[in-house]
């Protein structure tokens, strides 16, 4: 019996080696490293490994994988917004026969063909944070960006008077996340403050673009009362712009989205007045939980809303306790 087991293992190792020569991607290396079957491998294709918010999501994913006892193969794009590398990794994971794939698409429509291939090959796909347009997924685990942005817009409206001009720093308008956050904010804010002008600073989730755009507008107009942001990288960029122009905390109000640690710290210093926090950790955690459940063949809800938390100077203590910020 023991000898039989031994040969079986060496036989498996050979096949693994073959796969490596053919596929030659990190996925294969990780498979070989674990020497486990592909059955409990869950692919996790993230949008960024360096963005502060994404690091929290990725942490949740890693913790869920440890809890479920699955082998999580995390792959990030070479740079933020790189669709082609996401597609490539996706195809490799399908070819390797991963048990399930969790993906945070950099491009909702661009990833759709790969998702279709995986789903028709019987591999469950869970979309995390950003939805997939034009293909069905097993489950979509995310904040309802549109609904939360409406809350953000409504709360922002209470911070200014009708007729005061504000700046809104957008995210990438070619992605559903960016579109929903902008539309939700603008609709709710304009409904409450119909005479306020909204000046937009377009970005592709890049805080440098946010900083420069906000600086340009603040310079040419003296009547800006608030800068609202589609994500907290923008909030920090806008804060830097204010500091560059010699504004103090509270001179121009800031409103954030994400609840990232540095934006909450800026709230404690009096810069940020409201922040709609996504439950980032939960997004990664529940995404991988759902993927693991789907891999085992269990039923998974097609839409998991991870909720949000409205952080204001009043509630920031509770929020910090909840997500474990010092």
């Amino acid at each position: 019996m023991p000898s039989f087991g031994c040969t079986a293992i060496s036989g498996r190792k050979k096949t693994v080696k073959m796969k490596m020569t053919f596929a030659g991607v990190a996925v294969a290396a990780l498979l070989a490293g674990s020497a486990a079957s592909a059955q409990d491998v869950i692919g996790y294709i993230t949008k960024s490994a360096t963005n502060a918010g994404w690091m929290m999501i990725n942490q949740g994913a890693a913790d869920a994988a440890a809890e479920e006892g699955v082998n999580l193969v995390s792959v990030g794009p070479a740079f933020q917004g790189d669709l082609s590398s996401q597609l490539e990794v996706f195809e490799n994971l399908v070819a390797q026969g991963a048990a399930a794939i969790a993906v945070a698409p950099v491009d909702s429509a661009g990833i759709a063909p790969a998702v279709n291939d995986a789903m028709s090959a019987g591999i469950p796909v869970v979309a995390v944070d950003t939805g997939v347009a034009g293909a069905d997924v097993t489950s979509f685990v995310a904040t309802d960006n549109y609904a939360v942005a409406k809350v953000q817009g409504a709360v922002a409206a209470t911070l200014v008077e009708d007729g005061q001009a504000i700046i809104y720093v957008t995210g990438n308008q070619a992605q559903s996340t960016g579109q929903e956050r902008r539309n939700g904010f603008v609709e709710a804010f304009s409904a409450a403050r119909p005479n306020s002008e909204i000046l937009e600073v377009p970005t592709e989730w890049n805080s440098q673009e946010a900083q420069e755009g906000v600086e340009a507008i603040l310079n040419s107009r003296q009547d800006i009362a608030m800068v609202a942001n589609a994500w907290d990288g923008g909030t920090m960029g806008a804060k830097a712009a204010l500091e560059n122009l010699g504004f103090g905390a509270g001179d121009v109000k800031l409103v954030g989205f994400d609840g990232a640690g540095d934006a909450i710290a800026a709230m404690d210093d009096g810069w940020v007045h409201a922040n709609t926090a996504q439950m980032l950790y939960q997004m990664g955690y529940q995404g991988i939980k759902a993927a693991a459940a789907a891999a085992r063949g269990e039923d998974v809800s097609p839409r998991i809303d991870t909720g949000f938390f409205l952080v204001t100077p009043m509630t920031s203590g509770t929020y910090k306790e909840m997500v474990g910020i010092e």
Binding site: S220, R221, Q222, A240
Partner: protein, 519 residues
Amino acid sequence: MTDVAKTHANSTLQDRLVLGLVKFFRAEWSGAFLAILILGIAIELATSGRPFFHPSNLMTILNNSAAIGIVAGGMTLVIITAGIDLSVGSVMGMTAALTGYVASFWGFPPYLAIMTGLGIGLAIGAFNGSLVAYFGMPAFIVTLAGLSIWRGTGHLSTGAQATPKLPDTFDMFGRYNPFAGLRNAYKEGELSGFWESVGGFVDDNWINFFRTFQMSMLIFIGFFIVLTIIISNTRYGRWVYAIGSNEPGARQAGINTPRYTLLTYMFCSFSAALGALLFLGRAPYAKSDYGQMWELDAIAAVVIGGTSLFGGRGSLWGTFMGVILLKLINNGLTLAQLDTFWQMVVTGLIILVAVGLDIVRQSKNPESVRKLLGAIAAVMAFLALMTPGAIYLRAKIALLEHGAATTLREAGTSLAAGQNARLLSPDEITQFQSAALANLGATLLLLVLVLATAFVVLKASRLISFGLAAVFIAMILPVSLMGYEITVPFLVLGAAALLGSAYVHALFAKARRLDVNAR
């Protein structure tokens, strides 16, 4: 005798203007400068009530150009030697992250942290440069590898985490305002006599001028002045151009080409590290993902500035203008509140125009210049056309989309939410139909103008150019009557370009004659 007398009599204002024009177009930076000027005027016209040509806005553009500008300055020298450095963005990101990291987590005093950052830059440059100069590896490959290596190293060494806010010393490279101290002292009432009046003047003009007078801008301008002096007055500067235009020749002439190549790459990476410091002076914190895609922006700025990618030809002031043009596009389009997707398209078009101007300039061929002016007139006619044309097309397309979506639905296809948005209500259908009809006349009229102008581009004839310029002017009245006053500037500019195109050959002939006389 008569000839000499004639020359003297004709040495008028007109002659001096022609000579000035020739001198201007000989400068490598003239293409980028013209593009800046044209774009600036366009933005000024488009942003009513939000002054674009305002000192504080211009200084903001300079402040935000500073970091990438210094990176592009180093890149210019590398490109003049016919090399390339694709790693500058990663080097900038890594040095920014590490400088901030040692300053906040290792307790390095700021000056030591800054030295560390600049030292890292020099070391990376020495590594890249040695591989290129002494091991004969292609610069493209070495620095492409560097692009990945240094970005990865930056992420690894700092865990890709942001640092806390950096010590105030770093503000000296960025947001520090030399007048801030004076203004504060004035506000506290600590000044008297002469200094009090100076302080009052600064305070009165704070928002309009002094607020944006910051170190970023001063370092940026100072860097280019110093670098230009070095390049035009030292042997090193001459060798850089010599290596770029003919490397084997330079070597045979006794120039130690590997050494100067190495030095140039070291300088380029050093500039990237200095650019990182300038960036930190304005950024909220230090992080290893700064500077992504900066290599492309820097190369674009260098090329827009008239520097040849094949080496041997180029100027630092061209790069200076190129950087400003790139930042001006972002700044101006944001102020004009142009739609995001249009901003992308317009950015690319402006870059094409700037480089196109440079190519025509280099050709020194009157026919190309005439064609360019004709093309500008055609573009102006096209912009005028698009005022009613866009409304007409938008209405037609909406109706077509509605038709297609209805057909799909009838065929039983289930449509997604975004696709259902293409369906129109009966009210909207009549609205679009009347909009299409109302704009058809003006659209057709201006379409004819565009086609006629396009014809002038191909065919040189002074008479036709004059005639068409007259048509441009004559068009103003009917088009204005139809309610498109907004097209007037386009039509006037188009007429001016056509008139100019009629005189290009005469101008060139005159310039040649004057030039001969000048010699």
